[in-house]
Symmetry: C2
Subunit: 561 residues, 2 copies
């Protein structure tokens, strides 16, 4: 396997997840009242890494970072938009999928994390539709292959041009010996409910399916002749807009996050990241707001991107993505917090009171997605609940997202901050489901519904270490005598384990109970794809991914396992 | 990776899945009225392959083949047994899990198939409890580590000796850099509902958990001091027996299957397997009974193991296992049938009529498990519905289990057999759920419940090729002109694809819709374990699995993915 053979383009040394429309290289976002159009127009020479060209609207992580940004802006900056028309600016090509040369030359870790982020982006389209009423209509004007068709699958409605040539295809198996792993297989069976034997035929047919058969097989929702295409799009957009329940508003501006990076730290306004590369640890400290929430929603809107819960969510999201994609040797992320629980709870109460306001709703939906991103992060997650911390309400979710949590019992010698407390709010009981459809407390208390009820009885109260452990809200409560030693031993031990076995362990233990389409994408589909991404038949010297486009046929080991 | 470095012991050239109590090397089965005891007493020198010793009740596939056989015999030969006490004959050792030297020296394909079979066996314990009322009480008298504890997890009730030393442990992550992949992680969270952070602590604690903490953490159901152990076992066995709804009877003898093997064929009474190694195809032909079912259940019991549905199920199961574990280069299994649908339907009707009889129930439960085994077989499954075939009722399930099905439309030139028909019976609508909890027809018709109803309206009717295609029951209906060419092209194409990508494709498309604990074991858990079984941190020269017991520490690549 090529290990990080690729260099980032333009001399950069980190993948940066920030983007803004004025700097997009690959997309054009245009707003016209309730209808927005997002044109995919990938700049061949705008690859994130050196060494490949993004031909035929093929994409890499950089293209997807802009796509995720565009969707986020639609949610916050353009709340009156009810329908997004997603289409291509290229002639006779919608999107050729993930760039194959990029994949062939990427490290295993980059491939896995690239797929994870693109999966999260596609899930975000469905989240926007289900919870914000922002519907997506995808227009396929030519080839939609592999990841191109998988992108379309995230839409509410797919229109395929019926010109005898435009087609949808998932040619990964026949062409590349990998899977349509960006949700493709799962969305075929679970979202579009394509009959499984037809899905088998479709996924093994390199040239894909076009015209009426694509409708009959449920691969697209309708076909339209080229001459009527614009009329059909306009009609469909109007219909979807009429039925959308989206809460309108004027929008706010998502100002760029201010970050200061040094070799071993990233400083945001409310988030600090400390990187300890020697011990392979990252610490993320979240701070509560400097002041209590405003009295009115108008003031919240006036705060805009600097409104504390919104700014914190964006900063945290950026920090998680940065560690995930740039710091592969970090074994564990330690979450700490600093501030006052009362302030945190006051913001939760404010958002709860104004939950019908579009901005409050969007902020809470953003938190849901950021917390899911954390669940999906393949690093050991540890919460340290210490004196002076503020793990309350929304921030308490991080404690419940952790693989383990440690709570400091009592005061620290020489530290006059009040003993650590946890506080629960209404938002811990339904607002932030994980990808398996359960809240983190439900997932925690699968054995006994009574545990959940006992926790609910403490709503709003300050829960100290002893009680938190009794209630099962934290893993360990430790006093001053044991704290340092226990943590040191745990973290030393953790980083001595195989990173792969921890990835597998955590991916299983975090998601007890039911599965949903979303969790199946990250479990059944991604785990199989990751397996295939290790197999010589795909990534070996003679494998299909490496030989694609070389003129040489791949050579396969014929043994099934 | 070592590729099939192991030789089978005793000069054998195939893994044989047949077993019988008189020949067991590793287990002792004793029956005492309603209570049976199965003693694990692994013969160190009885390994399936050369090159390792099965110390401390560690196991390999050979040990598990006998275990699966013992359970099958309890179901058919001892239907009056209501409780199975599963325990060890060794002093202070229950079971040390899968033998590590065996794993370290096995090919990837053997490891994967070993885990698959052991998973199926553990599922069979739970199936016996849920559907036959045969409860299992597991007694842990010492070390129950890794696969040893995973075996215990399949039981209804776990008793741990409280002697200050006996413990349960899942030390795979700290010791071997792999997962507790034989259902362990999934049963912890989904069956025993162990809190996820406790599960994290447990799975990273090499020495495991003992005594009261094991109960408090839900890892076992009770502890008993050594002095009271036998009393507690007897009490528990009596209690479970009293509550068991098992239908009693006298039992039948499962005579050994008669098989004739030649290099390219296996002949059973009602099943023929033809192996075409050049084209990497296996054909399995199922034949209907020679005569109609008897008039009474007494006659069914008198037929015993030669009663057609039972014999066919056992032969088919053996054939699937043989191909899975001995013929790794076979890309596709073609299922054919020969005989009369009326006879097949008559047996289905007989079993339906006598569904409350213990033997009829056990036969149908066996079919359910054999069909699940087929769903879990990582080869392309193709059903060929041809003139003279009898894909009706239970046998029609094989058409619905297939990745694709081809039905011959009309008569074959020069062949006077009647055109192909399919027939549905009541058993196609609920009796044989897949591991995801849906029937194969429900899985097929996820999109529209109406399709299922349209199929149900044809219950008992002969459905010809045209109608079968209209109803969506087969993938393609082809006439004499196209049949040979279409099949030839399809099979050539299929075997040109990467076997790994087909494994992943089929594992995703076969299981649309919901997941259950059982399907999560085969999807989320197994797919991650298979990934880890490819990672150098586990299986490389310096990996933990290879270095275990060598005195050398493993060396890990620290990067998370």
């Amino acid at each position: 396997m090529v290990e990080d053979a690729r260099k980032l383009a333009n001399g950069r040394d980190r993948i940066d997840f920030s983007a803004e429309p004025a700097r997009y290289r690959h997309w054009k976002l245009a707003i016209d009242g309730e209808i927005a159009t997002l044109l995919m127009d990938v700049d061949e020479n705008g690859g994130l890494f050196e060494g490949y060209q993004l031909k035929l609207n093929s994409y890499d992580l950089g293209v997807d970072i802009e796509l995720a940004d565009a969707l986020l802006r639609l949610r916050f900056e353009h709340p009156s938009v009810k329908v997004l028309v997603l289409r291509s600016a290229k002639n006779r090509v919608f999107c050729a999928g993930a760039n194959i040369r990029m994949l062939a030359g990427s490290s295993h870790a980059h491939k896995v994390n690239f797929c994870k982020f693109t999966n999260e982006t596609r899930n975000a389209f469905e989240d926007a539709s289900e919870f914000s009423g922002l519907r997506t209509i995808c227009v396929i004007n030519g080839t939609a292959a592999g990841g191109g068709y998988e992108l379309a699958l995230a839409a509410d409605h797919i229109i395929l041009v019926d010109d005898g040539s435009a087609s949808v295809a998932l040619p990964e198996v026949p062409l590349l010996a990998v899977l349509p792993g960006t949700g493709g297989l799962t969305r075929l069976t679970d979202k579009r409910k394509v009959r499984r034997d037809r899905a088998d035929v479709f996924c093994t047919t390199e040239e894909g399916v076009k015209g009426k058969r694509a409708v009959e097989w449920r691969l697209v929702d309708e076909v339209a002749p080229s001459t009527r295409l614009e009329t059909v799009i306009a009609e469909r957009a109007r219909e979807f807009a009429e039925k959308s329940p989206r809460l309108a508003g004027d929008g706010i501006v998502l100002e760029p996050l201010r970050r200061q990076r040094t070799p071993d730290a990233i400083e945001y306004a409310f988030v600090s990241v400390a990187l300890d590369t020697k011990d392979r640890l990252a610490s993320i400290t979240l701070r509560s707001a400097d002041s209590l929430p405003p009295a009115t929603v108008e003031e919240m809107v006036a705060f805009g991107a600097s409104f504390w819960p919104l700014q914190l969510a964006r900063e945290l999201d950026d920090a998680i993505l940065d560690i995930r994609n740039n710091e592969f040797e970090i074994a564990a992320i330690l979450f700490k917090s600093s501030g006052t629980s009362e302030t945190v709870l006051a913001y939760d109460a404010f958002l709860e009171e104004h939950r019908e306001h579009w901005l409050a709703r969007e902020i809470r939906l953003l938190w849901k997605r950021v917390l899911k991103r954390l669940d999906m992060t393949s690093r050991t997650i540890v919460a340290l609940v210490e004196p002076g911390s503020c793990f309350a309400g929304t921030l308490a979710e991080i404690v419940f997202a952790a693989d383990r949590s440690y709570m400091f019992d009592g005061e620290r010698d020489g530290d006059n901050r009040a003993p650590a407390k946890i506080a629960l709010a209404k938002c811990n009981f339904g607002l932030y489901p994980m990808s398996n459809g359960l809240t983190r407390l439900q997932s925690r208390f699968l054995a006994d519904q009574g545990d959940l009820e006992r926790a609910r009885e403490k709503l709003g109260e300050s829960i100290d270490a002893e009680e938190a452990q009794e209630l099962g809200l934290v893993t360990f409560s430790l006093d001053d005598i044991d704290w340092d030693d226990e943590l040191r031993v745990f973290l030393e031990e953790r980083r001595s384990f195989s990173p792969d076995s921890l990835t597998g362990l955590e991916a299983n233990l975090r998601f007890g109970g039911p599965e949903t389409m979303e969790s199946k994408i990250f479990a059944r589909l991604s785990a199989w794809q990751n397996w295939i991404f290790q197999r010589p038949n795909a990534v070996g010297e003679e494998g299909a991914l490496r030989r694609y486009g070389s003129g040489q046929k791949p050579v396969f080991d014929p043994r099934r396992v």
